[in-house]
Subunit: 462 residues, 2 copies
Amino acid sequence: MARNTQVPADHHAPPITRLLAEFVATYPSRGWSDEVDHAAHRTFLNWLGCAVGAANHESVQAALAAVQMLEPAPQASILGRSEKVDMASAALINGISSHTFDFDDTHLKTIIHPAGPVASALLALAEYKGASGRSLIDALVLGIDVSCRIGNAMYPDHYDRGWHITGSTGTVGAAAGCARLLGLNVDQTAMALGIAASQPVGVREQFGSMTKPFHPGGAARAGLMSALLAQQGFTASPRALEAPRGMMQTISTKNDWSEITEGLGKTFEIVLNTFKPFACGIVIHPSIDGCAQLRAQGIAPEQIATLELKVHSLVLELTGKKEPVDGLQAKFSVYHGCAAGLTFGQATEEEFSDEVVTRPDMVALRRKVHATVDDTIEESAVELTAKLIDGRQVHVRVEHAIGSIQNPMTDAQLDGKFQGLSDPVLGPQQTHDLIQSAWVIGDASDLRDLTRLATPMSSSSR
Amino acid sequence: MARNTQVPADHHAPPITRLLAEFVATYPSRGWSDEVDHAAHRTFLNWLGCAVGAANHESVQAALAAVQMLEPAPQASILGRSEKVDMASAALINGISSHTFDFDDTHLKTIIHPAGPVASALLALAEYKGASGRSLIDALVLGIDVSCRIGNAMYPDHYDRGWHITGSTGTVGAAAGCARLLGLNVDQTAMALGIAASQPVGVREQFGSMTKPFHPGGAARAGLMSALLAQQGFTASPRALEAPRGMMQTISTKNDWSEITEGLGKTFEIVLNTFKPFACGIVIHPSIDGCAQLRAQGIAPEQIATLELKVHSLVLELTGKKEPVDGLQAKFSVYHGCAAGLTFGQATEEEFSDEVVTRPDMVALRRKVHATVDDTIEESAVELTAKLIDGRQVHVRVEHAIGSIQNPMTDAQLDGKFQGLSDPVLGPQQTHDLIQSAWVIGDASDLRDLTRLATPMSSSSR
């Protein structure tokens, strides 16, 4: 009963659960800068496009089939699909689809993909409740601040131990957002955070299986239900996050409480959220970006004799596959990434399809790519030298690939990414209208237009 | 990226997920001794009585109100209540009610309460699927074996770290049981275990709040959904339990794989399951038992001058409250426990009601109880000396309280406990019939009789 544990418990943690509950329940609507609000809209838009884009993926089909065994009430939309399910199941499925392509947002300090759990829970709840777009965006900013601050406190030990930090922190972030959207008071919000604190989701061993995208989905569902339970008077420990046997000390040996308390309500983690231009691991991004820059300079694939890359060691360690045979393997091939960048100027899900990856011209082109490790090159950088058939040499150096904090995707580039994901699902016109709706969602009196545009319209009028 | 972690990863773990999937999917129906099958019926019966007994508790009311926000389809019964909800929500709510009084079964080696997660998931699924009682009992034995063996491997480090081991292992046990009930093959069962492996539920800081009983409920729900997902082709890592970044190494520093592999299919953990006769923490049980023995010897409360206890140090550490003011405090008072044992010969939920606890005769009687720590007394034992008003002294020594492995409750005592829980909810006649039905559930062609008897009958005929 009085056994020693490996990690000394911190009995003097500040009242984190209470502080976060007060923050979430009482912070003024839009009580932040335009920059923060714009970052929230970018986060929402990117999440929406990712979810719509993966709507017909087999992971979503399987999850929906399981949910349909429960005969769910048609309360909320599944993005990119015509079925409706109960709001908790919609949170689950939209969370799964938004992370299926690994193309969603990244809070680089923690590698959390914050929108998946929080936005998936919020949209389902907001749609059902008839909430305004403003209350959705308010809750998104606050919920993401909660999950990312908890992540900052525990990172990196918590992640190193094996937790998929997106799902483990996401349940609490989703609960925070939903508590805000439901208008819970401080005490009820503390209970919502507390109930969520018993439900961290996700271990890293699942990477490569459908259970990886299940993590943000499961977190979204659990967070939403935690808020509904708290609203009905269900109780939890008021110190569930920070107590010695609370969530954070149970799942992480490092807990820097100041990451939560300092600047709370003054700085917002959502402004540190980044968006991937390329549908693959972040270490290849500089190389793809460099190749896209060569293409933009007018260099065509058929002009290339060889392409020499100087890269950070991790690039070859993680993505050194020379002869990928399908789309999934190609995501771990810097060689295919370069071929895609040179040929298409982009590397979306389509450029990682089996069809593109096995095209003879792509196979030939990536065999012309040679990569060597250079210890002077940062992880975020690459040096490219294209030797052309006519004897010319063209040199490109990328310091920070497009999509990094230093070189973020522009709003127009996010639109283009969205179109690439959504056009095949919803068609170009509806995709265009949906993008317009998402950029001004904070001003919408309700979410009916957006959810209508985010689901395929039947031929009949409705 | 290549940071060190605190705990060296074990890259050579045996294929635990696969071994357990083969065990669960292929073990012969009733391929065990009568002793095992009887233990399964005792476990089922005790779980059922606890769930029925707490059906009207505020924790169940709150959880049901939250679930009703989802407008659930009426697929499965809520024990002790007339409402029906979808099977996953029924698993959640019956799991909550079964643990609300902390009166459910205990696997003493791990302090797991194994039936809550597993039986709650199984009954809801079996009712919906029209499964036989035999398939329910088969799945209960196998599911509980999975959760308790995983618990044996991780205990005590995992528990010490802060996990409520009932919910953390229970998700996997519930998934195993549901996979069996659904007739999933080995590959699908491995996926069900794998999906569940990302969803351990519960931290110990929640003890004392409604989120404690939420843990078996949440685990039941998550396990059931994991099996449904696997049935629909959803995938997980085939090494999700044992891999270096799988569930077990992520949530426990100790992992003794032999606890899972040795004797698998030969010995069954369910025979080690125990049942509490008294609705309070296990350390007071010897004292209550001793007082009930005094009463059985004909000693009435009004004859007592003083009652001297010699107890293990944990008894006063955990349950030393001398003047409890309500039922909850009385659960942490060995003095009240003794007064209840002397007065009623039992200590069920009723003897821990506010009304009983505040009765003047109970207050007076417990002030006559004096407890001292004796280092020669084991945790499972007590020495009692009653000094009577007429000058006589009566001595009782309890080595192993009723309810322990060494001195288990008899089947008749389990019936009596069930009646105490269920009579106020279902009435004596229906309770009697339900008990009869539960003892032979392994022979039932379906569960309709049982679920009908376990829910209040309306005055109209049905």
